[in-house]
């Protein structure tokens, strides 16, 4: 396994003298952990069905300088028709102030690129960055800690309410080829604050590159964060993302992961329900064809009493695509009255598509209600006949039924323009765009 390119970058990053001490320490911790564990292998339980070898063997170097040839008009397909959202645009991993639009969405809400945030709110960044998602979590988190150079910080003061969504749009164009970016995002909601954040990863062109993002989310008591992650990377790209949330009492975390891009993608969504009365809703939709590999790992940790978690992931796999879903729910002994529900449904359109699905419930409290269910199937013959009996040709009927299967989970998205946008994308994928 050749990790030398990564190690060279890591060594260079830890030599930087111009950064504050806490950041140099974070990089050093990340570098040390990565050097110690290296990339995971399929012998690691969490990587049993996804080989990180193609990433380890990639000859990509951390993108140091801003660069790219993206113009505003090219971003239109990715903004869901919403010009009034606060949108931070990153080209090949670096913040682009000219393409970014909208100011602070509301009083008490600060949205800044990482560099500016370090200057303007050092107490938030220094205090929390790397404390929620620690380098020991995984080699990729460690790599991000060592190498991250850009990203965003969103801070919501107590009771602040961002009425308009905040969109972090990461675009990779042809100049990203052979590059690696390690976006770092920190979202801090003080008590009773509320916001919707969209994190998009899109590509202009078909370059080979690596995105390795880490998003840390801190929810104070009574806070609500809706986090939508849209992964539409280049078909030759590699995408690893970790979203890690910590929830205070009575807080609500809503997550949706939409994944259609990349040759190989791995999305970790983790949350710790760390106070009584919290709720977490983790939903997702993955669609892959050709030789794509798409992996979702979710981890919901119930630490306290009377919390609920809801999870629905759906997938549609064609060609020789390989899907992986692992849903871990961990209920601590003191988390009585936990109410958890998990579902994973995958539609296989081709006999050679594969899904590895694993619900993993570890329950150490005795007064809980936890259910899970997984289905893997093909298009329902009865529904198909019903449609055909109305004159709809077999091909078209299959398209519609496939769309319907996928759209079922999109209905969960509360943000209307996003839901409509993703429905249209999904419909176009299966019907060639006609609506």
């Amino acid at each position: 396994m050749s990790t030398s390119a990564y190690l060279e970058d890591v060594n260079a990053a830890t030599q930087r003298k111009d950064e504050p001490r806490w950041l140099r320490e974070l990089r050093a911790r990340g570098a040390a952990h990565f050097a110690r564990v290296g990339f995971p292998t399929t012998r690691d339980e969490d990587w049993k069905y996804t080989s990180a070898a193609p990433i380890a063997e990639l000859d990509v170097r951390a993108i140091q300088e801003p660069g790219g040839e993206v113009i505003a008009a090219q971003l239109e397909p990715y903004t869901f028709g919403q010009s009034d959202w606060t949108t931070l645009v990153f080209v090949n991993g670096r913040y682009d102030s000219e393409l970014s639009t909208g100011g602070a969405p509301a009083a008490g809400v600060r949205v800044l690129p990482l560099g500016e945030a370090r200057e303007e709110m050092p107490e938030v960044v220094e205090g929390l960055l790397g404390s929620i998602c620690t380098v020991e979590q995984s080699a990729f988190v460690a790599l991000n800690a060592a190498l991250h150079s850009d990203g965003a910080v969103i801070h919501l003061a107590r009771d602040a309410y961002a009425a308009q969504p905040i969109h972090l749009l990461f675009v990779s164009d042809a100049l990203s080829a052979k590059g690696a970016s390690h976006p770092r995002i920190l979202i801090v909601a003080e008590p009773n604050a509320k916001a919707t954040v969209i994190e998009s990863y899109v590509a202009l062109g078909e370059a080979t590159y690596l995105t390795n993002s880490v998003t840390e989310i801190s929810l104070g008591d009574g806070a609500t964060i809706a986090h939508y992650k849209i992964q539409r990377e280049s078909p030759r790209a590699y995408h690893v993302a970790t979203v890690d949330a910590r929830q205070g009492r009575d807080s609500h975390f809503v997550s949706f992961s939409f994944a259609t891009g990349a040759a190989l993608s791995r999305t970790n969504i983790w949350t710790v329900l760390g106070g009584e009365g919290c709720g977490a809703t983790l939903n997702g939709l993955y669609m892959a064809d050709g030789e794509q590999h798409v992996d979702h790992q979710t981890r919901i940790e119930h630490q306290k009493e009377s919390c609920y978690s809801r999870e629905v992931y759906r997938g549609v796999l064609d060609g020789t695509a390989h899907g992986v879903f692992n849903g871990k729910v961990y209920v601590h002994p003191e988390a009585q009255k936990t109410d958890g529900k998990q579902e994973n449904h995958t539609l296989l359109l081709s006999p050679r598509a594969v899904i590895d699905t694993k619900p993993q419930l570890e329950i150490f409290a005795d007064d809980v209600k936890c259910t899970h269910g997984a289905t893997v199937g093909r298009i329902d013959a009865t529904s198909l006949f019903y449609m055909k009996s109305r004159g709809v040709g077999a091909g078209r009927a299959r398209q519609l039924l496939t769309y319907a299967f996928a759209a079922d989970v999109l209905e969960q998205i509360e943000l209307e323009p996003l839901r409509t946008g993703l429905e249209e994308l999904t419909l176009a994928r299966f019907t060639g765009g006609d609506r």
Partner: protein, 252 residues
């Protein structure tokens, strides 16, 4: 219009239809009655092309063409419509979108122009009235969460929109209260024309008070054991199926 000759069909190697012969001319309404397990629903499904059934003998022609060789969608495009006994729920596809897709696919197959969503809405307005349904039903997923009566009305709505030459109603009356039954029957009657035919498959005579048939056939043990006019249905109601099936010893 429809010529069925000595039709035989099996499901999972079990013979259900054991030689059915029936001809339906344009403008006629035929009722097919029979006890449970007589094969009357199988006949309806075989005519629509349900893949679970295998035709093992006989022939069916529709307007002179071999119906049995056609895929289900081609049969529908040629004008055959089956109102399902158990309409299928399709979560995620709206009623309006489904209907417009079907409508346009049929038009396309006939070499006609497709209609856009606005024009289609106009077509729908009149048809909705016919079956006493509200616009709101159009935005709901096909049959999903519909009551039994709503599902049956939705079948008749589809029929009204697609305007088939041959409509086959498979126990459309089952599970309906008398008001819903009337709505369904009115819908069917409104579509009657000299160039359209209907086959009403039913267990009970009740529906035939509202949709008056020209001919009544009694099916038992996979065969037609008796045929007659509309008075046969009344006689069956009074005497029970044993009266005909007992005579042949073919009760199933």
């Amino acid at each position: 219009m429809l010529e069925i000759k000595d039709l035989r069909a099996t499901v999972s190697d079990k013979e259900i239809l054991k030689g059915i012969t029936l001809s339906v001319n344009a403008g006629e309404v035929h009722a097919v009655m029979g006890p449970n397990g007589s094969g009357k629903s199988t006949l309806a499904q075989v005519l629509a092309g349900h893949p679970a059934y295998t035709v093992t003998g006989g022939s069916v022609t529709f307007d002179g063409e071999n119906l049995l060789e056609m895929d289900p969608e081609v049969r529908a495009q040629k004008g055959v419509f089956l109102a399902f006994q158990y309409p299928v729920e399709i979560p995620g596809v709206s009623n309006a979108y489904f209907l417009r897709t079907a409508y346009n696919e049929i038009r396309k197959a006939r070499g006609e122009e497709e209609v856009d969503p606005m024009d289609f809405l106009e077509v729908m307005e009149k048809k909705l009235e016919l079956v006493d349904m509200s616009d709101a039903m159009l935005n709901r997923s096909v049959n999903t969460g519909f009551s039994g009566g709503e599902k049956k009305r939705n079948e008749i709505l589809q029929m009204a929109v697609l305007e088939p030459k041959l409509a086959i109603l498979d126990e459309t009356d089952s599970g309906l209260d008398i008001d819903a039954l009337r709505v369904v029957a009115n819908g069917v009657n409104a579509l009657r024309r000299p160039d359209r035919s209907t086959i009403v498959v039913t267990h009970y005579q009740r529906l035939l008070n509202y949709i008056v048939p020209d001919f009544v056939h009694v099916l038992a043990g996979g065969r037609i054991v008796k045929s007659g006019g509309k008075e046969l249905a009344l006689e069956l109601e009074a005497k029970g199926y044993d009266w005909v099936t007992g005579a042949t010893g073919a009760a199933a």
